[in-house]
Symmetry: C2
Subunit: 130 residues, 2 copies
């Protein structure tokens, strides 16, 4: 695995980050968007499990580490400008901290923001508190 050649193809922002879309590899469902830095990209490629950079915690965020809702990497893709990643993944359980399968559960319909999906699981069961 030549991680250097991958990192060379990526244009990081001034904070050293790049946005990454996680998409369910077989259904095409867009699950979530998170941020990655060079270390999280290297770890994701090395382990085959999605690892992001938490901007709020300023730490590596091994997706599912506390919730069990992991994402197995199927393929990493890089866009034309190198400033966005697309992770094709196989999501275990739910991607969203609200307990929903994906994070995009609010739609603009008739000019109003409308909730279009309910949680599959109680978020309390994901984190044991909150």
């Amino acid at each position: 695995m030549t991680t250097a050649s991958v990192l060379d193809a990526i244009t990081f922002d001034s904070s050293g980050l790049v946005p990454a879309i996680a998409q369910q590899h077989d259904t095409g469902e867009v699950l979530m968007v998170a941020w990655m830095n060079a270390d999280s990209i290297a770890e994701t490629l090395a382990t085959g499990q999605a690892c992001y950079w938490s901007r709020s915690r300023q730490a590596l965020w091994r997706k599912g580490e506390s919730s069990g809702q992991t994402q197995r990497l199927v393929e990493m893709r890089i866009d034309c400008d190198g400033d966005t990643l697309l992770l094709l993944v196989n999501q275990t359980g739910v991607a969203c901290h609200t307990g929903r399968r994906n994070c995009f559960f609010r739609a603009v319909r008739d000019g109003e923001v409308t909730v279009i999906a309910e949680p599959d699981v109680d978020p309390k069961s994901l984190y044991g508190h909150k």
Copy 2:
């Protein structure tokens, strides 16, 4: 159309921008990622045609205005944190300025960045120069 209630649900970054994924509404293909500000969101909702904010030109970017490769909005979705948008669109032609259907035509395979899709159209035909 109550654009104010939509904008209230969105958390813009320090530059007044939010990343937006354009996804082909029926196939699930992730076409591209661009940035939107409040004005481009309002215009997109008002016209039903995707309009982004060009960070390089610092101007509204009416997708397809020069290339003809427009995106008709099917639905706008907002993620749990309000800091990413998902635009379900109907893409006319190709989304990528390279002439490819989508921008994510480079994949990490066997540790190397590999081009996995060729242009559908000559980019010269999209812009008449370049």
